[in-house]
Symmetry: C2
Subunit: 433 residues, 2 copies
């Protein structure tokens, strides 16, 4: 029977931007590795597929009002890997501001350290504020995706540069590696020249899991070609179903098995022991948001400066979105236009979910909504975004997961120890030129 | 009283290239994080200042004969940080093949994760084989150092971009950070344009420890200006004393306190319970070296292809060394010329130490030699390079360290918890433009 996939998307002390202000929250934990180690253990207790770390190479919002999301993801995941045994470890890393050799090596290292639990969420870094930390000018969308495509190609070649069995370790003859099985990659592309081989043997998964979240046309094509899992922002079921159907078709078009690419919308799950309690929690969080504080975040998401825009007015024209390049932005702008929302109404609507789906209710109600999307062709699982951390993840793991298990929708034990294994994917064979 | 500084320089299953062939060695441990976690705990048991990880972005030698030195250093150190409390954690990272924002962020992250124990060994990546993994052509020495200089400048500005006390975490007012204390760096240099600020608060050490190992003219000037500790290859005391005196003068010339820059020659310490036992171990290791296997390594070190050169002949002319650009190479070539060594004799001489000082003997004899260099102006301490790992580090920690402690030369307890603290260095104040 088909099973759900569930990742714990971790973000500081919670996804809701006011999470750090709730009573009991400790904002100093956003830079405390023990906090993240505990969250990883909680996710493992819930038999989740993985923990997922987003990343930005600049602030996400206005640092006056918003906490950080954490430390550098790879460094954090290495520390989380050694206190867990099963949970997958997915880090976001940019193809625009890194080099393929370094990225291949870091993820291969994490895969060795974790015994086969590494995943790479590939991003192309769309923000101007990130560009300003790397030379100043943001490369155009198409250029970033062209670089990402060649980048992933090089990284995959490097991961494949050691065959299985290449390490002989023959102490008597003094032969460490079989050089017939360790090959230069000699990549000579438009953007990269990389000789290889990687200086790390093939890792337990062969290739770490590839995750992608682009939902522009370029992004979807890229994901359909490379990704093992796709993260997407889908606030409502009809758009999620359309995305799902379209995306699986694209996967088939690329000659791949659509069952081997998991589509995972983000899910902000607000759990209460009663419906009323969940609604109260949601209200409390919303009341803690200072609307002015989120204007910078919304500006960043939409790629337009709204800091001088009146809070009681609808959104201005947003040229970037018209070009269809920024599709999460597109979804948000569509919603604002459709419902004629003022900037402040939009801010409150997005508070705590950044355009992702929100469900608030009892564990049974949340399980109902998860099940509906899962059986109606809208999702293969979810990237769960707890509004508060650790509390929101504890609630999900202790109350929602058991309900999903009772319904036979989610694993009750891990069957293997690798992230690919959790996703039902085989270990890739080495590709030869 | 002045105390020695001792780092455990870790390298796979030992610094001797034949270490992996000795009985009891397990070559599979070179990619096993538990091996390195145990080594870090051993170094901490010995109250050493730090563990030190070298790095290369290509193979060090011929992979047919030589094992790897480990996984990617930052990833490894994050996993080692969380099983230790005091030991410093120094990772090598290249300024030629990384971006300043990423490097500042990774070391700040490691410093947070470890509670103030991170150190950065700054290298400019001199090898052609590394260049081939990053576009193909090795930038000239002077260009690499010019980049390194601006690079460290930017990284330091980013580390200083959050003042202490910038994080308010005021839950009642909803103010996370005091923006007066989080400043853009607005670096507009010849090579880098970086706006900042860093998206990580000032770390426990303020700035991670800076280590450097260049011994060319540019390298020494760079280190005299920036480094808190200097790693150097000095096979004999007279050259070490000359290096020491010259280097401390350079430090003074840069307006710095010479007592605040530790000079640490590499030290290959072969410990036996008797002198004879140590000599036997050294001989056994040497006998396990296949001379042909090291030709590639020597070629890489000297920057010239010796793979077709007859083993029984002296070195050919090596043009790069004449230019004085490759100074460890210079020391080695000088030694070969002075003693009229054949290539094979040179290989056996370098086996297990790569041009560093070798001492073999009882713990007392090794302590004598450490003391001599320490009191005679040749060293402030050593980067200890155990021929085998874990055995060689256990021997050093269990037998040599206690002897040094008995003599009052080395700490018997840690006095603080930060790497800067171990080196007697204050936490830097934030520099303002």
């Amino acid at each position: 029977m088909r099973k759900l996939h569930l990742n714990a998307f971790l973000m500081g002390v919670g996804h809701h931007e006011a999470a750090w202000r709730t009573s009991g929250a400790d904002p100093s934990r956003v830079t405390d590795i023990r906090h993240y180690q505990e969250l990883a253990r909680t996710a493992e207790r819930g038999k989740l597929d993985s923990v997922f770390l987003a990343d930005s190479l600049s602030f996400w919002g206005d640092i006056k009002y918003h906490t950080l999301g954490g430390l550098e993801p790879l460094t954090m995941l290495a520390a989380m890997a050694v206190v867990t045994e099963h949970i997958g470890l997915i880090a976001t890393m940019s193809t625009t501001y890194n080099e393929p050799f370094n990225v291949a090596r870091k993820f291969a290292s994490l895969d060795h350290i974790s015994g086969g639990r590494a995943g790479w969420n590939i991003v192309t870094s769309a923000s101007e504020s990130e560009a300003r930390n790397f030379g100043g000018s943001l490369p155009p969308h198409a250029v970033r995706y062209a670089r990402a495509t060649e980048f992933v190609d090089v990284v995959t070649k490097l991961w494949d540069s050691w065959e299985d069995g290449a390490v002989l370790g023959d102490q008597t003859e003094g032969i460490y590696a079989d050089k017939e099985k360790v090959r230069a990659v000699e990549h000579q592309g438009e953007r990269f020249k990389v000789s290889g081989p990687l200086n790390i043997p093939r890792s337990p998964q062969g290739r770490p899991l590839l995750v992608q979240a682009g939902s522009s046309e370029d992004g979807k094509e890229f994901a359909a070609r490379y990704a093992d899992a796709v993260f997407t922002a889908q606030p409502v079921i009809y758009s999620a179903q359309a995305f799902y159907a379209d995306f699986k078709k694209r996967v088939v078009k690329h000659g791949r098995n659509p069952d081997e690419v998991a589509i995972l919308p983000g899910l902000s799950a607000i759990v209460g022991s009663t419906e009323r309690e969940a609604a109260q929690l949601q209200e409390e969080l919303g009341a803690l948001v200072v609307p002015e504080s989120t204007v910078a975040t919304i500006s960043e998401m939409l790629g337009v400066d709204l800091t001088e825009h009146p809070l009681d007015q609808p959104l201005p024209d947003i040229p970037g979105v018209v070009e269809g390049q920024r599709s999460r932005a597109g979804v948000i702008v569509d919603m604002a236009r459709r419902e004629n929302l003022s900037l402040e109404q939009l801010i409150r609507r997005l508070s705590g979910n950044r355009g992702h789906r929100v469900v608030a209710g009892t564990p049974e109600q949340i399980a109902d909504q998860i099940e509906e999307w899962f059986v109606k062709g809208a999702a293969d699982g979810f990237n769960v975004m707890p509004p508060t951390l650790p509390g929101g993840l504890d609630d999900f793991v202790d109350h929602v997961v058991p309900e999903l298990q009772r319904r036979g929708l989610f694993r009750t034990e891990y069957e293997g120890r690798t992230l690919r294994g959790h996703y039902g994917l085989a270990r890739p064979v080495v590709a030869h030129a």
